[in-house]
């Protein structure tokens, strides 16, 4: 079982959370070319290793936040509020 560290509530059982997928996607401008939109809607890096992703603490504080998790081992490396960078994240 995974213990997911919610930035507000601390480590909780994974059953309290819903997965939101890749956290690195950025919604393009409405005027962006179609290829940029196709990339955003359909294509994924799908890394084998550390993955920055969104989780929602539906049975707790009801906040979306970011988690960096290793997809090979399910080890959680970092978490951060939705508007803050994960450790080592650029923006």
């Amino acid at each position: 079982m995974m213990l997911i560290p919610c930035p507000w509530c601390g480590e909780r059982n994974q059953i309290e959370f819903t997965y939101g997928g890749d956290a690195t996607l950025r919604r393009p401008a409405p005027t962006a070319p179609q290829s940029v939109w196709v990339d955003y809607v359909y294509l994924r890096d799908n890394p084998c290793g550390p993955h920055d992703e969104l989780w929602y603490h539906g049975a707790g504080c009801r906040s979306w936040f970011k988690v960096r998790r290793d997809t090979r081992t399910h080890d959680i490396l970092a978490s951060a509020p939705i508007d803050r960078p994960l450790r080592g994240e650029g923006s």
Partner: protein, 418 residues
């Protein structure tokens, strides 16, 4: 290849079964092949077999980083069916089911196809409408489909809770009588043996580390056992398609997710139909060894770990007990996980890739096992003719950009829909 028959079996019995030859060779890797297939699971081995048999391309290597059938071919719940709604899916999977029906004869290897029927339970009026619509679509496509009433289901599957007090009341069900199960390991072994007999080199413990591309054209692959020159490379590594395609700088509309399955301890025959429920997303059948083989949802997070977590196991078992209270005394014997290529529309990709000479069959979500023969057949066709077979014309990589997705579930661009 030593042909298997009743006479070879009797002959073997007289010598204590001590003199059976190897089922396939253990060849050294050559420097050059006409085609290379990456991945020695069912799909890759089937691709190589049909390349040799249907297209006369026999100088073929199948490269497997582990052992044959050690990935999802050995991890699935062995169910075969073709009960799809969309035309492209229906025709493709029906072709596959027809290949399953005569695969043991085709390969001279008993794959233990058992047409025990696949029953999709209906629990709500909305389920009923959807099942009727899908059943009618199947029949229009020439596929067997039959609607069973609650009473017919209660008579056929006595341990299923069909009482009005059931947690998920059974209103009826859509049955595909020709659906059933196949022994999964035998599929890999059968294709390997038959392909090897036609000259295919099957090389295990050989990991592909790179795909050589010069000016948009494939020229070879790099492996842990050395480089190979080839003009055609087929990728059949579902679960890891994104990683292998990335070797040629191709990004796929796929996420890798873990799906778990589990078996109970073996018991005497108790369930002779594959029973599924969309409402609780659960499926169960009984193996020939007597175990109840069960599965349900993905774990719902990206993973390459080939193992999952306990909450989903609890979820699957809870669904099982809601439908079959009688199974409550059984103990769970074993659980495992496999990595699924989850595409953005729930349908596979069997296509030419945007690099000349590079092809793939993947994106199977978690329905890849039943597709094995047809996937190999049309993938081989696509490699041999450098264009898709009519049955995989719709399964392109470009369909996402072109707005031609095959969204069986109508869920939109969503990679973890099940």
């Amino acid at each position: 290849m030593k042909r298997y028959s009743i006479f070879s079996l009797i002959g073997g019995a007289f010598t204590g079964h001590a003199n059976w030859p190897r089922a396939w060779r253990n060849p050294a890797l050559k420097k050059r092949y006409d085609a290379v297939v990456i991945g020695g699971g069912g799909h890759g081995l089937a691709t190589a077999y049909y390349l040799a048999k249907e297209h006369g391309i026999r100088n073929v290597a199948v490269l497997e980083k582990g052992w044959l059938g050690g990935g999802n071919t050995g991890r699935n719940t062995t169910i075969v069916r073709s009960n799809y709604h969309l035309d492209a899916n229906a025709h493709f999977y029906e072709f596959s089911l027809k290949l399953w029906e005569r695969l043991s004869q085709e390969l001279n290897f008993n794959v233990m196809y058992s047409a025990r029927g696949v029953l999709n339970l209906v629990h709500t009026p909305a389920d009923m409408d959807a099942a009727m619509r899908r059943g009618n679509a199947m029949r229009l496509n020439g596929i067997d489909a039959q609607f069973l009433s609650r009473d017919e289901i209660a008579a056929r599957i006595p341990d299923l809770d069909c009482s009005p007090k059931a947690r998920f009341p059974v209103l009826g069900g859509l049955l595909q009588p020709r659906g059933g199960t196949v022994r999964h390991d035998a599929v890999a072994w059968g294709y390997a043996r038959a392909g090897d007999a036609l000259g295919v080199d099957i090389v295990e413990r050989c990991e592909v580390t790179g795909i050589r591309v010069e000016r948009g054209v494939v020229t070879g692959v790099r492996t842990t056992l050395g480089d190979i020159d080839t003009a055609k490379v087929g990728i059949a590594v579902a679960g890891h398609s994104s990683r292998v395609a990335a070797m040629a700088n191709i990004k796929l509309p796929i996420e890798s997710h873990v799906l778990q399955a589990m078996v109970s301890e073996p018991v005497k025959p108790v369930l002779d139909t594959v029973v599924t429920s969309g409402a609780v997303h659960f499926y169960v059948s009984q193996s020939d060894k007597g175990e109840l083989v069960m599965g349900g949802d993905l774990d719902f997070y990206n993973s390459y770990a080939q193992r999952g977590n306990l909450p989903m196991i609890e979820n699957v078992v809870a669904a099982c007990l809601a439908l079959f209270p009688a199974f409550g005394r059984l103990r769970l014997m074993r659980t495992w996980g496999g990595i699924m290529d989850m595409t953005m529309d729930g349908s596979p990709i069997i296509a030419k890739l945007p690099v000349q000479g590079l092809y793939m069959t993947g994106g199977w979500c978690y329905g890849g096992f039943k597709a094995t023969p047809a996937s190999g057949y049309v993938h081989a066709w696509t490699i041999a003719n450098d264009k898709p077979h009519p049955l995989n014309e719709a399964f392109t990589l470009e369909r996402f950009a072109e707005g031609r997705t095959l969204d069986e579930k109508g869920a939109g661009p969503y990679p973890w829909a099940h």
